[in-house]
């Protein structure tokens, strides 16, 4: 059984991509040879039919029609979507979004990879003169005191404790016994009026009933 030419082979021969002599089957097959001849004739006949040339000036009129049809499109203000979907708008938006995404993605990893602080932490920076003084010699507990003004402020307690530690009688004796503070010398330095006033005050003081000494 003879295999006739395929449609693709016919078209290749008609187009000239393949010559008749390249296809030995054509020499042997009268059917394919006749079919090829008919196809060539039809193609030539169809190609010979011209498109009628339009009237003079038609091409300019067509251009004008197209120009008029396109003009409203060219003058139409762009919609928000058209303005948005431009490279000069989209590129910065995507770049910003990418940068934010990278920041969000990489930030937790950076925290995870960060080394934990050393076991011996540095002392906090003192915010008060008292804390600064603590650095100079006070116990460590005093140095790490909480801020001033809290309800049970240990710094206030420290001040109160220091206040109660003073013995006012001892302080007075210390003053009296210090050199250059002899009482008679002090009295000698007073004028007569001052000595008289001092006597009056002492007399008033001695006349008052005795009250227990209170300190606040």
């Amino acid at each position: 059984m003879i295999a006739h030419l395929t449609p693709e082979q016919f078209v290749d021969i008609i187009d000239g991509a393949v010559t008749d002599s390249d296809v030995p089957h054509l020499t042997a097959c009268e059917i394919c040879r006749r079919q090829l001849s008919e196809l060539r004739g039809l193609m030539a006949e169809a190609a010979d039919i011209p498109v009628p040339e339009p009237s003079l000036g038609y091409w300019d009129r067509l251009s004008a029609r197209v120009h008029d049809a396109v003009a409203p499109e060219a003058e139409r203000p762009r919609s928000w979507s058209e303005r948005l979907f431009q490279p000069r708008v989209l590129i910065p938006i995507f770049a910003s979004a990418f940068a934010v995404a990278m920041f969000v993605v990489l930030q937790p990893r950076e925290r995870l990879t960060r080394q934990p602080p050393p076991a011996v932490a540095l002392a906090p920076i003192p915010s008060t003169p008292l804390a600064a003084a603590g650095r100079a010699g006070l116990p460590a507990a005093v140095v790490s005191l909480p801020p001033l003004g809290s309800a049970n402020d240990p710094q206030l307690a420290l001040v109160a404790e220091s206040g109660t530690a003073f013995d006012w009688d001892e302080m007075r004796d210390e003053i009296a016994l210090s050199p250059g503070t002899d009482s008679s010398a002090v009295l000698d330095s007073l004028t007569t009026d001052e000595q008289r006033e001092l006597q009056r005050l002492l007399a008033d003081e001695m006349a008052q009933p005795s009250v227990p000494e209170t300190r606040s």
Partner: protein
């Protein structure tokens, strides 16, 4: 002294199609008018081959250029501008013939070819045969008709036709073969009737 950019800007008629498209997208006045001027004849002829009358061909040509203008930013330059316009043209024509059967124009109504050398009889016979062939082409299935028109009249290669129609080269060759075969059948049937 003119700015550097203006000095570099070539006149529109010196631009090739690709740069003309770029100029049009950049908003240069007259760029699209020049595209129309360069391709109006071939687009009109394509449309005329499909619909067979001047009025419809004229409307379709305008529609082709309007669609081309709207879609100009989608033209990537992968094919020539004429191939891209043919693709639009074929789609527009196929849509048209799908909804409205074109009225075939009598060929001698607009024939402006030089017939001085022909005898009266030869001219009549040639015109009659032309009408028959055009009518036969109009009866072809749309894809076969598109393939035949693009191959014979627009002189596109099978590769280019495949781009226009969005099909394979093998399918284009098969369509072309069957289009010629169907044309022969239709014309043969008419001759038998005559």
């Amino acid at each position: 002294m003119p700015p550097v950019g203006a000095a570099r800007e070539l006149a529109l008629d010196q631009l090739d199609d690709q740069r003309l498209v770029t100029a049009c997208l950049a908003g240069r006045p007259g760029a699209f008018d020049l595209i129309v001027e360069r391709h109006r004849r071939s687009v009109y002829q394509l449309c005329y081959r499909f619909v067979g009358n001047h009025e419809d061909a004229s409307d379709l040509s305008q529609d082709v250029f309007l669609r081309a203008y709207r879609g100009l930013k989608s033209f990537r330059g992968g094919s020539s501008l004429s191939t891209w316009l043919y693709r639009i043209g074929v789609n527009v024509c196929l849509n048209r013939v799908a909804v409205k059967k074109p009225v075939m124009e009598d060929l001698d109504a607009r024939q402006h070819v030089d017939t001085a050398a022909e005898s009266q009889m030869e001219r009549v016979l040639r015109q009659e045969r032309g009408v028959q062939v055009r009518a036969a082409i109009a009866q072809l299935p749309p894809k076969q008709r598109a393939t035949l028109v693009l191959r014979i009249y627009q002189d596109l290669s099978h590769d280019e036709i495949a781009q226009v129609l969005g099909s394979s080269v093998g399918a284009v060759k098969a369509n072309f073969f069957h289009a010629l075969g169907n044309l022969k059948k239709i014309l043969g049937a008419e001759e038998d009737l005559a």
